[in-house]
């Protein structure tokens, strides 16, 4: 039976509700902070009249609810406004920063899921063994370690002590000048291949690997932990024990039964995993001088550039809740119990 339209509409309605809630909270938070954005807008040597003009232009004299109504009206008409610090349209700033963050988050997410799945199943099969203990301690300590600290440790070991990976930047700093590289999609792994610059592609891959490994740690731990317990549950089912006693090999059991049982609940957790990857890339972007959305938000916050902060947060909220909505619908499709 297909997933009902009613369920899909309900999920999309929730999505809007979540995004609205998030931007409302961020909006209120940014207006409560005592700040003087008119100084930013009017420049360092502004006169009192220029400041007053700036206050009017930014609607700072209006009560907060009037500002909120204007803000929502602008959102509904896709008018995302101009950054107070860069003076660029915010939508333009975000579109140019987003590919970097997505490239990092998606790579970290994929690495995390694959390794996590592999480790989780290994641990479950060798329950109680040294592998199992390793996976268990890894999945707990891994999610307890702050990624920004981990990022520095990775840099210290992989780049400085061993010297096998470069630190920082998405591409050789002078690729554009010396090799004529021009971004097309903003995803450098794709762009370098489109332009047929294979050595630059390898450079991009090398630079992507370290931050992606750091970002992968949270989704990896989550996936490993979930896979392990789900697989253990399956392995302890009576029918599995029976098969084992009949001499069916472990590998066959894993492939035919364990993985099948593990995948659907795991899909439900993909949204969360991707959320972790996204948050992770936000936290490490500054450390890897990675010019994505995380870096953009950090600068915006430091400059009290509130419109930029709100729209960035909204973008992330939309991405995150859209993925969760898709995952939920997918999960409902796979598991009819959810649809009720």
């Amino acid at each position: 039976m297909p997933v009902s339209l009613r369920y899909v509409i309900k999920r999309i309605f929730y999505l809007f509700l979540v995004v609205l809630g998030v931007i409302t909270i961020v909006f209120i938070a940014t207006r409560i902070i005592p700040a003087h954005p008119e100084f930013l807008w009017a420049g360092p040597h502004a006169t009192e009249e220029q400041l007053q003009e700036a206050r009017n232009e930014l609607r700072l004299n209006d009560p907060i609810w009037v500002q909120y109504v204007y803000f929502i009206e602008n959102m509904l008409t896709f008018n995302f406004g101009i950054s107070w610090s860069s003076r660029h349209p915010i939508s333009q700033d975000i579109l140019s920063a987003l590919p970097a963050t997505l490239e990092l988050a998606i790579s970290g997410f994929i690495i995390g899921i694959l390794i996590g799945l592999f480790l989780g199943i290994r641990a479950a099969v060798k329950y109680g063994s040294i592998i199992d203990k390793f996976v268990r301690s890894l999945s707990i300590s891994g999610s307890a370690i702050p990624v920004f600290w981990l990022a520095l440790i990775f840099q210290l070991i992989l780049a400085i002590k061993l010297g096998i990976l470069p630190v920082g930047y998405r591409i050789d700093p002078n690729a554009e000048i010396l090799e004529g590289f021009q971004p097309i999609t903003g995803f450098y792994t794709i762009d370098t291949l489109i332009e047929g610059k294979f050595d630059l592609f390898l450079d991009v891959l090398k630079r992507l690997l370290m931050p992606a490994l750091v970002v992968s740690v949270y989704p990896l731990c989550l996936t490993a932990r979930m896979t392990r317990s789900l697989a253990l549950e399956t392995l302890q089912e009576d029918y599995v024990r029976n098969m084992r006693s009949w001499g069916v090999k472990d590998n066959v059991i894993i492939r035919k039964y364990v993985i099948k049982a593990v995948i659907p609940p795991l899909i439900a957790s993909l949204g969360l995993s991707f959320g972790y990857a996204l948050v992770g890339s936000f936290l490490v972007e500054v450390i890897f001088a990675w010019n994505g959305l995380g870096m953009y938000v950090v600068h915006a916050l430091a400059n009290y550039d509130f419109p930029a902060v709100i729209i960035s947060v909204m973008t992330v909220a939309i991405i995150y809740s859209s993925i969760n909505t898709v995952v939920d619908i997918l999960h409902a499709y796979l598991d009819p119990r959810i649809r009720l």
Partner: protein, 550 residues
């Protein structure tokens, strides 16, 4: 069946192996590649902590000085260490007897990056545009009445009142000369048309300096290429250059000091603007790294609210001045990379004197408080504001807080964004009781004169930056006399500036804490770094002076 089952686990392993092989393969491939193609361009990458700002040489008054200073040129270059003015676009200059006329003789054979020649028209066009727009540091030229073209290579400035035009022409801001053709390029109607500003900010340059701008991405990276037709490469009277200067100079924005350090250690960048000071001893022991220190004109200072009790009492201000452990602050806040300040004019600047240091003496401080009528300390918490995000200010503020507690003065230390700190402080001119008691901030000069420090922070006319609301007529008079003498009788001006500082010292209008020592960490493959750094042009590395060892 069995083989297929193994396959599942294998897929994961194969993917991992492919990734690892690709990475290692790529690494060796690139190693191989870099050995093959020998005549590659030489590149130096400089990591900057902050983003670049605007690109208009007339109005820019912020971070972009980091590259404007070598993409554009001034009439005169200033070497503050030797206190020497070095001819740049002007080969010589003289002033009239009455100090109201300055004549500049321009260098022949200079071309802008667009190929057009430097001449009197270009200089007049540039200065007029800067003065007319009146933004950024254009106020430096306030004394200029008119600019006259004597001949194609001679320019004369007529002044309303005497001013040190030689120092102003060598300033780090508002002093740049550019090609008048920008009007055509920008399709503008005249010199002050905002279209020209837009043209600059789109990443175009019209300078004559040793490097030209070839990529403008102010949030991420800005890239420069050597300008081979630069006059200076062959000029014998111009010292700031090197025969093995890099072909490409890149400024990369790396906002985190630890990342800068790691990138430097990994060889990704050659110069780091800021590394954690606590790591410097390690870096110094690393043979691949050099650490260059230079005195700077950047000073951390406390301005005391002289219009609000209890700091309106000079005895209380004096007590505070003697209760601060200056040496400890330098050691803790800057790991020794600073010099205890003596007067608001920093060490190395003309007009500086070592006479204006306060002793650290708690007994004296306590007895001063008793004299002032506060034998049991102050019964109210004083508010000290500093700029949020600056770790050196934070550490200094916290030490001051604990030091003042020892003489019975409680301090509320509050970090604010600069916009906010400044707004609160400026409101003190109207209502000093609402403003902070103590303001901590940095000052560095717009042009190289004691006047810049003393006027901005202490003159009663300076409502923007005199944030201790200090008013003293004798002081104001000393300054206004001294500034007119700067251009003609610098010795006399110096004497007057010292007298003015004596007043600040006795009145304790401000408590200078330390003069920062700039610390730059760089790869050992660079030499001449010392020459490429100049405190008169803060944060600039002049790439034309760098030498790359092969």
């Amino acid at each position: 069946m069995n083989k297929k089952a193994i396959g599942k686990g294998l897929i994961v392993i194969i993917i991992l192996v492919v990734i690892i092989v690709a990475v290692l393969g790529g690494y060796y491939y690139s190693l191989l590649n870099s050995q093959q193609s020998q005549p590659k361009k030489t590149v130096v990458v400089y990591a900057s902590i902050s983003e670049m700002t605007s690109a208009d040489p007339s109005t820019e008054f912020s971070n972009s000085i980091m590259w404007l200073a070598f993409t554009y040129e001034r009439l005169i270059y200033y070497d503050p260490i030797q206190n020497k003015l070095i001819p740049e676009l002007a080969v010589s200059w003289e002033r009239s007897q009455d100090n109201l006329t300055w004549t500049f003789h321009l260098r022949h054979g200079v071309t802008f990056h667009d190929g057009s020649p430097l001449n009197a028209d270009a200089v007049i066009f540039s200065l007029n545009r800067t003065i007319t727009l009146g933004q950024g540091a254009a106020f430096l030229w306030a004394s200029v009445k008119s600019i006259e073209k004597v001949d194609d290579y001679t320019v004369r400035l007529h002044l309303n009142y005497p001013a040190p035009i030689d120092l102003i022409a060598s300033a780090a801001y508002a002093s740049y000369i550019f090609s008048p053709k920008v009007v055509q390029y920008a399709k503008a109607s005249n010199a002050t048309d905002p279209k020209i500003s837009d043209w600059f900010n789109a990443g175009n340059d019209a300078g004559s300096g040793p490097y030209k701008l070839i990529k403008w991405d102010p949030k991420n990276e800005v890239i420069f290429e050597k300008y081979s037709a630069w006059w200076g490469w062959n000029a014998t009277d111009y010292p700031l250059k090197s025969s093995s200067a890099p072909d490409i100079f890149t400024i990369k924005i790396v906002a985190d000091a630890v990342t800068q350090e790691n990138m430097l250690l990994a060889g990704q960048i050659q110069i780091a603007q800021q590394v954690p000071l606590e790591d410097l001893n390690n870096l110094k022991n690393n043979p691949n790294i050099q650490v260059v220190t230079k005195p700077s004109f950047q000073q951390l200072i406390l301005l005391l609210n002289t219009k609000k009790a209890p700091l309106d009492n000079v005895l209380v201000r004096e007590a505070i001045a003697h209760a601060i452990p200056y040496d400890d602050i330098v050691t803790v806040a800057r790991y020794g990379y600073a010099r205890v300040a003596s007067g608001p004019v920093p060490y190395g600047m003309w007009g500086h004197s070592d006479q204006f240091r306060y002793s650290y003496n708690l007994t004296l401080a306590k007895s001063l408080l008793v004299q002032a009528g506060y034998p049991n300390g102050i019964n109210r918490k004083l508010l000290l504001t500093y700029t949020t995000g600056d770790i050196y200010e934070k550490r200094s503020a916290e030490l001051i807080q604990s030091a003042l507690a020892q003489i019975g003065i409680q301090v509320d230390v509050r970090p604010l964004s600069w916009d906010e700190q400044w707004a609160l402080a400026k409101s003190g001119w109207e209502n000093p009781n609402n403003a902070q008691d103590i303001l901590m901030f940095y000052w560095w000069p717009t042009y190289n004169s004691p006047f810049d420090f003393l006027y901005n922070m202490f003159d009663s006319q300076s409502k923007d930056f005199n944030l201790g609301y200090f008013t003293n007529e004798t002081f104001d008079n000393l300054l206004s006399t001294a500034v007119t003498l700067e251009g003609s009788d610098r010795e006399k001006a110096t004497t007057l500036y010292l007298q003015a500082q004596q007043i600040i010292y006795e009145q304790v209008a401000g408590i200078p804490l330390w003069d920062m020592t700039y610390v730059i960490a760089a790869s050992s493959s660079l030499s001449n770094l010392d020459m490429a750094i100049n405190p008169a042009y803060p944060t600039v590395i002049f790439p034309q002076a760098l030498s790359l060892k092969s």
